[in-house]
Symmetry: C2
Subunit: 649 residues, 2 copies
């Protein structure tokens, strides 16, 4: 008798050894069709592998990461099989899954190069092989046999990989005429794979080391339904259009300069204005919630980071210390603002009545990333956190958490992020030794977070063991307009830094106590947030936020003076307006300003100059008719008011 415990705690009994597919089938036919792999006591297995003793299991479908991993892993093998058909003698390196899809690093026979056309040929072969519904089977092999097998194929890449494995743990997977070294798990057969797209070819050094041979990396993505591939391709096309690097250039928001250094963004006038709008918005909200702004330097003595523990943990992989010409001092570019804020907290004594202290800073920090990892504004070496640290008593924790959630909601609403989820990360109750701080405090803090989320009506998922060693946390993930997930705001409880910096307050009992520290950054960083916002809105920022709200387009130079008059009037009415005075045809002016995503284009010529009016055109939408200057000012101010109504003040 085998007892199988399901994730919800229910137990199913089977007379004899049973596999994942059979368990799914025992639940429903629909599930049996959807299931791709199975977790058995935490390890992901092939569906066809028999479970010989009692176990806790979880069935994986396309909707979870493990299911997709299995699917794409088998797809990589399928691609390798197809490549071997056309290019016998190809040697195969590694073929892992990535965020979306998979790749395989291959060493093609001497003189062979893959073209776009070759990829299509391989795709066709893959589809043909998939339709054959070839069974994918697992077998265990001894190390000696495995090496002998790949030696016969002259595949020294696989031989090298095998040489590093422990005998007894080596498995092969076979489908049709193709056998590969693989840990698994895999799909039961190739027919699950219905839609295939090989997306890119790149060069990659064997094992990422530039001293090794350059291999060919082939990327692909597959789906269980043809429709899903179509949707994916549309999404990719749209994502390319929305690439924040592309739009950032078109709108002149930010740029990079090789001479200044890679990964160090330069905020151009319009981008700087956008950022300032965002910062001012958050400042206003935070002021309402009792935050105080501070400003601290961008470097700190190395000793400061030894105290905080950051140096020990990250020192080697960071920008290296800055020495002084004399006096033997050592400074670090600050990788975070918290140590500086702890030092401010310590500048004068605090009573329990003074707490919470909410200290905010738009603090620019510096973290080294390898140049290959850099990407637009999402992966940079300098970024500005919308940072704040709340120093509070244990009994204030829940309330403070609720207030931070409020602030995050205000931001999501102001920027139309309607689709978000939240994850509560708690400690692993079985490994108390991993965490600092008393169990009582942890209990209280975890309870406070759970209750705060509950009272705010937040839908959350809870993950045990995902807490940092110094405290539990709450993360927000948003889905953008293309359905892609981005992690934004984090609220992190911290028992560690108050200890390391010996922070105190005098309690109502006249004794010394440790405050709790909350780290929080609703935007995360201004750089990453602006990137997400650009891709979410395709550069069409909410009217209240966008750097230029209106542009006046005189139809000829004759009307430049009137255009200037309109612009002056609107600017005085707090509408950010510019004039396109260039000596260009009106059609060209409209096209250029549409590309810059200026929300309102105001065309003025003889008729408008005489009537004191403007011809209003909404970006991407077209004509809105004629309005007087006053009417337009009211119209746009009303739109802004509605966007922000009730969010602060």
């Amino acid at each position: 008798m085998i007892k199988i415990t399901l994730p919800d705690g229910n137990v199913r009994e089977f007379a004899e050894a049973v596999n994942g597919y059979e368990i799914a089938k025992s639940i429903s036919n629909q599930l049996a069709k959807a299931v791709l792999s199975i977790s058995v006591d935490g390890a992901v297995w092939d569906l066809s592998r028999k479970i010989e003793s009692d176990a806790a299991i979880k069935l994986h479908t396309w909707t979870d990461r493990e299911g997709q991993d299995t699917f794409w892993h088998s797809s990589a093998h399928l691609m390798a099989e197809a490549i071997e058909v056309y290019y016998p003698g190809t040697k195969f390196g590694i073929g892992p899954t990535v965020d979306t899809g998979f790749y395989y690093d291959i060493d093609l026979p001497e003189g062979k190069i893959l073209s776009e056309k070759d990829l299509q040929k391989i795709e066709q072969k893959m589809l043909e092989l998939a339709r054959q519904k070839n069974e994918i089977t697992r077998s265990v092999i001894s190390k000696a046999d495995a090496i002998a097998m790949f030696a016969e194929k002259n595949d020294e890449l696989k031989q090298e990989l095998i040489s590093e494995l422990e005998d007894g743990t080596i498995t092969l997977y076979n489908q049709g005429n193709f056998t590969d070294l693989c840990r698994g798990p895999h799909l039961p057969n190739t027919s699950y794979i219905k839609a295939i797209k090989l997306t890119a070819i790149a060069g990659a050094y064997w094992r990422g080391d530039e001293k090794n041979k350059m291999l060919t990396r082939v990327y692909g993505v597959t789906f269980p339904k043809a429709k899903m591939l179509d949707e994916y391709l549309v999404m990719i096309e749209e994502a390319k259009k929305r690439d924040h690097r592309k739009i950032g250039k078109e709108m002149q928001l930010f740029g990079f300069s090789e001479a200044v250094g890679q990964g160090l963004p330069l905020w151009l006038p319009k981008g700087a204005q956008l950022r300032e709008q965002l910062e001012n918005f958050l400042k206003k909200v935070q002021k309402k919630y009792g935050y105080e702004q501070v400003m601290t330097p961008h470097i700190g003595d190395v000793k400061l980071y030894k105290t905080s523990g950051h140096y020990e943990k990250y020192g080697k992989d960071s920008f290296q210390p800055i020495t002084t010409p004399s006096e033997g001092e050592e400074y670090l570019l600050k990788p975070m603002n918290c140590p500086h804020h702890c030092e401010i907290y310590k500048m004068w004594p605090h009573s329990y009545k003074d707490l919470p202290v909410r200290m905010a800073e738009f603090g620019t920090v510096y973290r080294y990333e390898q140049s290959g990892e850099l990407h637009g504004l999402t992966r940079v070496r300098s970024f500005t956190q919308d940072d704040a640290h709340i120093f509070c008593r244990p009994d204030q924790l829940k309330d403070e958490f609720k207030k931070v959630i409020d602030i995050i909601f205000i931001i999501f609403k102001a920027l139309s992020f309607d689709n978000y989820t939240a994850q509560i990360s708690l400690r692993d109750p079985n490994k108390p030794e991993k965490y600092i701080g008393s169990p009582e405090n942890w209990d209280k803090a975890e309870q406070a977070i759970i209750e705060a989320c509950d009272e705010k009506g937040l839908n959350t998922i809870t993950e045990l063991g995902e807490a940092a060693f110094y405290g539990p946390k709450l993360d927000f993930m948003i889905k953008d307009a293309l359905g892609r997930s981005w992690q934004l705001g984090t609220i992190q409880v911290d028992y560690n830094l108050p200890d390391r910096f010996d922070l105190e307050y005098i309690g109502s009992d006249d004794k010394r106590h440790r405050p709790i520290m909350i780290h929080r950054a609703p935007f995360g960083s201004m750089e990453r947030f602006v990137a997400v916002l650009i891709e979410h809105t395709a550069g069409k920022f909410p009217l209240w936020l966008t750097p230029e709200q209106a542009v006046v387009l005189p139809i000829s130079e004759k009307y430049n003076d009137y255009a200037k008059k309109v612009s002056d009037f609107l600017n005085i009415s707090d509408i950010r307006t510019v004039v396109d005075e260039r000596n260009e045809k009106i059609g060209r002016k409209i096209r250029d300003n549409e590309l810059k995503r200026v929300p309102y284009l105001l065309i003025v010529g003889e008729k408008e100059a005489e009537a004191g009016s403007v011809s209003v055109r909404r970006q991407g939408e077209g004509d809105r008719g004629s309005m007087t200057m006053d009417e337009f000012a009211d119209f746009i101010n009303k739109e802004v008011r509605e966007q922000l109504s009730g969010l602060y003040n």
Copy 2:
């Protein structure tokens, strides 16, 4: 016949060799009484030294630096004479003048230490010796004789100094029984010195090297009139009270932390708010004048500073380069923003119609200073410049200069700096090889500055040879409430960086041209400016600027709710208001908030709560009677409006 040319170009003829005193006397008796030393063909001489051939001269009195230097130099000798009377065997190191007064580094006989009381004794002896009207005489001595003389006195300090001098250039000065090695010049006799104050004793290593012996440094200051000393002491007392470090602490504006690092200011909430007010004010003004804000990182590739020339010039004395864990990159903390702004300028092509480009940034820069040089906010290692760079055509230079002068005037007016002077620094017309850029461009630029100042009605002094090698400039000096001078804004023309960064614009002739760059920072740096502002206003900032404009003081906890209501009402009316809810007596609350320089103290108790009013007290001035909340809001908003009226918008 000796021809003496006066500074105004007039020539006086004398039958035989003549000295400074005689020249002064030939002009007026009053001048003869006031004159202290004389410049002869650029070198400063004793008044009694005979001029043997034709020369250009300038007579120095107490009102010029050379006159004061002579006066204080003789005072140092007088102090040394008095010390030798009481402490025979004392060895004398160096005795130079300082900003105000002089010091002498001395090596007292074994076991002797100076106390406050000893200083008074020495002062008395100095006065006694001064009254003796001892003549101060100069004599030339051979090196061998000079060494022999000080060897006899066992003064190895002087022997060491003499050993480094060239034979034939060594002079002694004698007064009464005291003779000192000295280059001079000196007063004719000791009776000029009427008022004496020895101000401090400190330790100082011989020649500033900590491997040498520690000497005693005695500071003093002297004046030609007793009244001047009295005024000086009052000023010093007042300056102590206004010390920005003291007030900064009392008002919790900024602080330093050993753990973060010396010279790295932490802006506390109220200071950060003050700074933000100043920045927002300048941003508004700059927006009106067509500036665009940008934001750039705080580091740059070393190559950037090699291009700009900064690395070669300052690299060794700066914070040292930051290396990366891999990839062998090298970055520098940015010592200035201009190279970053040049890189932004280069991001797209410019036509002559696009100029001027006015690029502004509140950019925090880092410059290494030795720890002994650090002083509050006036000498720091990190500071934020209110920086901007104007890229313009040669024909726009004058107009741009005038606009920058306008901005500086607006700032001076908003902050009540009524007493200022300006200096135009031009090239040395005799040394054209010292300057880069064509003589025609220099002519044009110098002319543009002179005309701009003229058209703006600015009183200026012009200094030849004070221009930087890369362009002429205009500096503003303000006098604060204590009459002390501070250098603030600078406007600097630059032909160098546009060359080094190969900046271009396409002219109306369709050819490539170099723009001219103007560097300008009206505040200079936020840190230094706030320090000056604190000392100028004694922390009583203009109402529009001060971080907290009003504080509500409930006379007991019973009225905390009403106090909160008042504060909410005022904050909504844009008046920055806080409540002092502490459980303290009202007298204590008033005293504490007076010390924090909150301009308006609003006392509320039963009467006020019933009437919906506040009892208004002006900081440092006392009672202003009772007002309703509305009346007070109108009252304070009117005051702010009046302060800023006409300055922008």
